[in-house]
């Protein structure tokens, strides 16, 4: 059995815990277990490991010290925070998936066969929502490129944004006429 965290070494540390009435298991190699602070398996919360945030900070530590894995600390749509995610093991809304993206991928890897969806896709799903999200991200990069006076990069980013806008408008006219 391979380590759930690095997926490379043989797992020798096995954690089992009851979480919300369900038995959750985690298998780790010696080194990953140590990195996660698993000296005493009973003293560690599996949610923390699954959520990929390491052991929870003790009460004496100031809350702001917890370093989130992603740049964003809460969901712009529902206000969910990393702490909420850690506490409940649940997400707050669809937007949370984009918000906690990086940390999630780590957690999903330990639970599922893969981290990319395979299977049914809603009919007519042409991810305009994703194109819009990508556009926003690129706009930020563009701003930064201009600030750093990387004009060549900026030109490339601008072209990508144009292409995205074109794809979005094409999709919108398509749905309007169909």
């Amino acid at each position: 059995m391979l380590c759930n965290i690095c997926n490379q070494n043989e797992a020798t540390v096995h954690l089992t815990q009851m979480l919300e009435g369900e038995i959750k298991k985690m298998d780790m190699c010696e080194s990953c277990a140590q990195k996660q602070g698993v000296d005493d398996p009973s003293g560690i919360s599996l949610v923390d490991l699954l959520v990929g945030l390491g052991p929870s900070s003790t009460e004496s530590q100031p809350k702001t010290k917890a370093t989130p894995l992603t740049g964003m600390s809460n969901c712009p749509k529902c206000g969910y925070t990393q702490a909420d995610l850690k506490k409940t093991g649940r997400l707050g809304c669809a937007e949370c998936y984009a918000t906690f993206d990086d940390g999630l991928e780590h957690m999903l890897r330990s639970m599922h066969k893969g981290v990319r969806h395979k299977g049914k896709t809603p009919k007519g799903f042409r991810n305009t929502r994703e194109l819009e999200a990508k556009t926003k991200k690129l706009e930020k990069e563009l701003e930064k490129a201009i600030k750093d006076e990387r004009y060549e990069d900026a030109a490339i980013i601008r072209d990508s944004i144009k292409a995205l806008a074109h794809a979005i408008s094409e999709f919108e006219t398509e749905t309007a006429t169909s």
């Binding site: 038995i23 749509k77 529902c78 969910y80 409940t88 093991g89 649940r90 997400l91 707050g92 809304c93 669809a94 998936y97 984009a98 999630l104 957690m107 999903l108 639970m111 599922h112 066969k113 893969g114 981290v115 990319r116 969806h117 395979k118 299977g119 049914k120 896709t121 809603p122 009919k123 799903f125 991810n127 929502r129 994703e130």
Partner: protein, 369 residues
């Protein structure tokens, strides 16, 4: 509409045949879905949950398969009705506990049941008797596709269908089969079976009881992973595993008959003796003994007995069903204590099995002619 006027009578529900129904009781496929715009039920406030309900319930009610179905808010059902639905495996314990915005829509043939505002906005399931996993998937896939044209479902090309719990994300599918495995349990091969099935990424749990305890030797095999694998891959694998477990169960029964017939006869005979003569019996004991009776029936030791009678007893000896029977038959509306229910359960079993002749078994390992 009154729930109990709607539900299919237990004696009819137990007479619906299905492939491999000697071992497989039911097959079920459940899809978790959410709307893009509203927070998941656990995060939503009262108003948002109501809004979700108002948006979704009419859409589900107007689906062709839900024609003349039963649609109700959980808050408007009595505690007893909710428990009855849980005991019939139509709604989850979790939904039964929820009130704000929670609802259920059940089709008239009880094949389709949709839960609204459970952990996800929508939990849609198809349930069929026997081993019919693929058929259940086809049925629920069709309903889901129709629902998708009416509601903006949360989906991302990376993570698939977005769910409140990351363990369900992707396909949002939970495929399960309910199996009666007394042979494997008596032969003490169940632990091995569970380990082998777990290795294939599938979960095994007792249907009744907590943790590893499986009352009535009924087990549920289901997929755990929902992301990175297509629905069909998941279904194929589960179907293959279930077929293998059925074969193992049949082999275990045959082996027991060959090597320890007296032990088997003893257990079945004693089960019959207790069930037909007890005056106080717990739900737990009843289930374990009924399981042995069903095994005896499968092996042909109760000729001329309708197996549906035993299957029905599994359901009607559950606590809420006992309570319901007391209320309807004798007008006893007062909530019974567990001790009172144990007495009532015993008398129900005695009455139901009164005309059932004792087992006909001999050491040759086959039923007497």
């Amino acid at each position: 509409m009154n729930l109990n006027d709607f539900l299919i009578p237990t004696q009819d529900i137990c007479r619906r045949p299905g492939p491999f129904d000697r071992v497989v009781l039911t097959s079920r496929v459940r899809l978790a879905r959410n709307l893009q715009e509203l927070p998941f039920p656990g995060r939503a406030n009262k108003q948002e949950r109501q809004q979700l309900l108002q948006t979704v319930k009419p859409v589900i009610e107007t689906m062709p398969v839900m024609k003349e179905g039963f649609s109700e808010e959980i808050a408007k059902l009595t505690d007893l009705d909710r428990q009855i639905l849980v005991e019939r495996h139509l709604i989850s314990r979790e939904l039964a506990k929820k009130t704000q915005g929670a609802a259920m829509v059940l089709s008239v043939d009880e094949t389709f049941c949709v839960m609204i505002n459970e952990e996800d906005h929508l939990r849609m399931q198809a349930i069929l008797p026997g081993l019919q996993i693929k058929e259940a998937w086809k049925a629920i896939d069709k309903l889901d596709t129709m629902v998708e044209t009416k509601l903006p479902i949360a989906f991302s090309s990376q993570f698939g269908y977005l769910t409140a719990c990351p363990t369900n994300v992707g396909t949002g599918i939970r495929v399960s089969a309910m199996l009666h495995l007394p042979g494997l349990v008596i032969a003490e091969h169940m632990q091995q079976t569970i380990t082998a099935v777990n290795k294939l990424g599938l979960a095994v749990r007792g249907l009744y009881g907590e943790g590893t305890e499986a009352l009535g030797n009924v087990f549920q095999i289901s997929n755990q992973m929902t992301l990175g694998e297509s629905e069909l891959e998941i279904i194929e694998r589960l179907n293959k595993v279930v077929l293998q477990v059925i074969e193992n169960e049949e082999n275990a029964r045959a082996k027991l008959l060959e090597t320890k017939p007296e032990m088997l006869f003893n257990q079945i005979g004693r089960a019959y003796g207790i069930l037909t003569n007890s005056h106080i019996i717990s739900s737990k004991e009843a289930k374990n003994l009924l399981s042995l009776l069903r095994l005896g029936l499968d092996l042909g030791y109760f000729p001329d007995v309708d197996p549906a009678v035993v299957d029905e007893l599994f359901i009607v000896t559950e606590p809420a069903h006992i309570q319901y029977e007391a209320k309807n038959k004798d007008g006893e509306a007062l909530k019974k204590t567990p001790e009172e229910r144990d007495i009532r359960r015993a008398s129900l079993l005695r009455e139901s099995l009164e005309k059932m002749p004792g087992p006909v078994m001999d050491a040759s390992g086959s039923p007497k002619d």
